[in-house]
């Protein structure tokens, strides 16, 4: 099993108390967590990545226990080897595109320099067609370029899986369609497991091998109805 996830966490206070109780397992390479906004999808993804801690539960990724409250296992985010693409991409505003992409290659206390040249930075810059903007700062980029930069920055660290938080939400329709295809193609080419969360049914249709429906912090159904192959058949 690729993912075995079982997590509980109470969120919020008093009136807005919210109980997250998520359990699912999946072998899919392209898993989609689908649900309305406020359902707890981002919290779920962050807990899978180690950016947030469940109060109880167990998370196993490809036979590695990354979290187990009973055995007090809780690998830090940086030890899980997962890539994460944030909803607003979270590009470092003080670094250029190239410095952003090369960020994970240096683990010391200093950022890659402006002039930093590296073959894998060059490779990913090329894959995502960012050569022309590699000297620019994130605020100078278009939405699509930001997302590509965020993807390149995550992939350069050679993650074992990529988690994406509403990657297309901030885009207009035509761009969304194109980037969906790009992502799908990328996933197939790298055969890198991905988990994507969305509230957009179109994303599910285009991307999901398996979809997990989440509502009000609970898994309401677990199915694989939208695998693109079936859909087009």
């Amino acid at each position: 099993m690729r993912w075995q996830v079982q997590m509980q966490r109470r969120l919020g206070h008093a009136a807005s108390r919210f109980e997250l109780d998520i359990a699912f397992q999946s072998d899919a390479q392209r898993l989609v967590l689908f649900g309305p906004s406020g359902a707890g999808k981002t919290q779920t993804l962050m807990m899978m990545a180690g950016l947030n801690t469940p109060q109880q539960g167990r998370v196993v990724f490809q036979n590695q226990v990354v979290f187990d409250s009973q055995q007090s296992v809780n690998l830090a985010a940086r030890e899980r080897g997962l890539g994460y693409v944030f909803q607003d991409y979270a590009l470092f505003p003080h670094l250029t595109v190239r410095q952003n992409i090369g960020f994970a290659l240096k683990q010391g206390l200093q950022n890659p320099s402006l002039a930093h040249e590296d073959s894998s930075v060059a490779h990913w810059t090329q894959v995502f067609q960012l050569q022309a903007v590699s000297e620019l700062y994130p605020e100078q980029l278009s939405g699509g370029q930001r997302q590509r930069t965020a993807l390149a920055r995550a992939l350069i660290a050679k993650p074992r899986a990529l988690l994406l938080d509403e990657p297309f939400a901030a885009m207009d329709r035509s761009l969304r369609q194109r980037l969906r295809e790009e992502l799908l193609e990328l996933q197939r080419k790298l055969s890198l497991p991905m988990v994507l969360i969305t509230h957009d049914e179109e994303d599910v249709k285009a991307f999901a091998q398996e979809v997990i429906h989440i509502q009000q912090g609970k898994v309401v159904s677990d199915s694989s109805p939208y695998a693109p192959a079936d859909h087009h058949a």
């Binding site: 962050m46 990545a49 180690g50 950016l51 830090a76 985010a77 940086r78 997962l82 890539g83 994460y84 944030f86 607003d88 979270a90 590009l91 470092f92 505003p93 003080h94 960020f103 994970a104 683990q107 010391g108 206390l109 200093q110 950022n111 700062y137 605020e139 920055r153 995550a154 660290a157």
Partner: protein
Amino acid sequence: METAWVALALTLKVAGWATAINLVLGVAVGFALSRGRFMGRGVIDALLTLPMVLPPTVLGYYLLVMLGRHGAVGQWLKEQFGIQLIFTWQGAVIAASIVAFPLVFKAARAAFENVEPTLEQAARVLGLSELAVFFRVTLPLAWRGIMSGTLLAFARATGEFGATLMVAGSIAGQTQTLSIAVYEAVQAGQDQTAHFLVLVTSVSCLAILLSAGYLAPGRVAGQNQRGWP
């Protein structure tokens, strides 16, 4: 004129040390208060801000009581290391540091609170240690705010009078800073010296304020960010 240059050099030395001390302590305390979730945060913040609102003479009095010959800290320093701080330039550094401290730690705290938490999380997920996250993401993004507070603290330390006079006195060439020299010159009826001292002080303070305004956050936000280290 000789007095003025000696006083200026001493003032810059005292203010420089006070600023360096405040930069380290202010960043550390500002960071702790912006991230820590512990009891009594409000009380600690208020106590540390007190030097900004208390009359400098009151601060000077506290310092005298603590660091003086009969003060707990003063006695201990004397017995352990043979150090006496009262009436020395190091005493003036301590007085200036305490008076200017709130300006640095307030600015640092606000700057740290303005750093988007997801940027730090992005760095963690990319494999960085907490220390690396601080030096590569948090500090560079908070740097402008910290620097503008630090420059204000430098200006404040340069102009320090009350607490410094009480703790370090007014020994020409040793503890007589610009602002104290101005007072002494006026008291002694040396108008020319006073004029010159006042001019030197005003020009240095104006220069500092202009730099602080240039670094203030917001002014450059949205423009290019090449000023970031």
